[in-house]
Symmetry: C2
Subunit: 283 residues, 2 copies
Amino acid sequence: MEMWYTEKHTEHAGITLRVSRTLFSGKSPYQKLEIVETEEFGRMMLLDGLVMVTERDEFVYHDMITHPALFTHPNPRRVLVIGGGDGGTIREIVKHPQVEQAVLCEIDGLVIEKSIELLPSLACELQGNPKVKLHVDDGIAYIKKHTDSFDVILVDSTDPIGPAVGLFEEEFYRTVFAALKSDGIMVAQSESPFFHADIQKKMFSNLRAVFSIVEMYQASIPTYPSGAWSFAFCSKKYHPVEDFDRSRAAERPFETRYYNEDLHLGAFMLPTYVRQNLAIESA
Amino acid sequence: MEMWYTEKHTEHAGITLRVSRTLFSGKSPYQKLEIVETEEFGRMMLLDGLVMVTERDEFVYHDMITHPALFTHPNPRRVLVIGGGDGGTIREIVKHPQVEQAVLCEIDGLVIEKSIELLPSLACELQGNPKVKLHVDDGIAYIKKHTDSFDVILVDSTDPIGPAVGLFEEEFYRTVFAALKSDGIMVAQSESPFFHADIQKKMFSNLRAVFSIVEMYQASIPTYPSGAWSFAFCSKKYHPVEDFDRSRAAERPFETRYYNEDLHLGAFMLPTYVRQNLAIESA
């Protein structure tokens, strides 16, 4: 028997992947969690039936949610991840030598537990690294307790449905702003310009109401809707292009499979249709 | 009854699109041609069961196969398209005021005929434009008859299987080189860095044996395998980044939905895994 997993990205379009076996299927208080083995993309985690990560293309997402902010901020010592229970973002953060503490705040303990068990190439830094602190808590409640605390906050959330819906609202961005130090940076995944133009328009409007610097950048992630994916770079002081120290990024003391010092700049050079949706003027 | 068209991009992964009706299905001497109506992507052309173009995302491909070369060459007067029978590339070429003649050489007359009939938003310039010349001919045979003739040649081919296999070989690139003027540029679609790394490695090795300037650039095309797509920019004289006249591109006298003067530069800033496959050094 052939098993194929099909995710509809819209009512009328999706991707389909051959699955060889299910490694885990269960429900937490928040969502349904499945981890399956695919033939093409390695192990894959699904939340409520949507692809979160695959072993084969997660390097794109995790490089790009992490390194643009951490190579723009001149001295990122305390970094918070909201969501990201698979551990991939934490794994990238702790590669930066300036980082003294990397805090993960994930609402769903089952995601952390099963990632440690079944996705070790992602979750490898969630245990045994003294710089890493884990909190199983609601991200919004957690950051309300911390003001002026973090250099960088990365919002590694699911789509704006279910438990993550509050993570796309202006009130949440104000709380993040308060939790950042006076030169802090927030990056949040910001969906597909191709399929989610309306979500992006609202999200960037909410972000611009809070942060003085708000820029979109893009990355190509094969298993995400349309493959064209984006991130919101929001900052109090440092601009991701104008204040970028290219030589520090070029001399990074670790390997990256997607990110590099040129791509950092190129990722902010957006297609016309994306600019138009966000009302970005040509430079 | 629901109809879904599924294209396998590898043995184990693909996309699936809801189809409302078939507009044409037939065989030419070269391949099977189908044009169907999809719910998400508008009308879609398939050759031998593979997606060639959809009305919704063709703007990415046609902007990006055309404008980087035509805004790098300072005076592109004679432009040849090999393949491209749907007409989308010709439509973009004739927007450039310097172009005096745009020649299409497509091996399969049925593709041209059915595109004119069923894909008018692509084929709109294939009839009635005095600058456009159509040849139903084998591209390799055609260019052998023309030396020192074209400013730009765009190889708008299918994948390197079936009728297009010769369009990825060194001998063909030597023929293109001879057909170009002394400052000519060739651009060819060059498959997906994510799924077709081996094809790319061979293709770029063949290109480097012929052209002194060979650079890859990328674009995000949702209906193509992995969404991460690429083009080869091959040139005798002009470098696509160093010799690029940004202000001429910024002042273009027509609208573009994907291309712009910043994206032109950003498209050449490649992910690390793509650079490594092609053995490109950091700048």
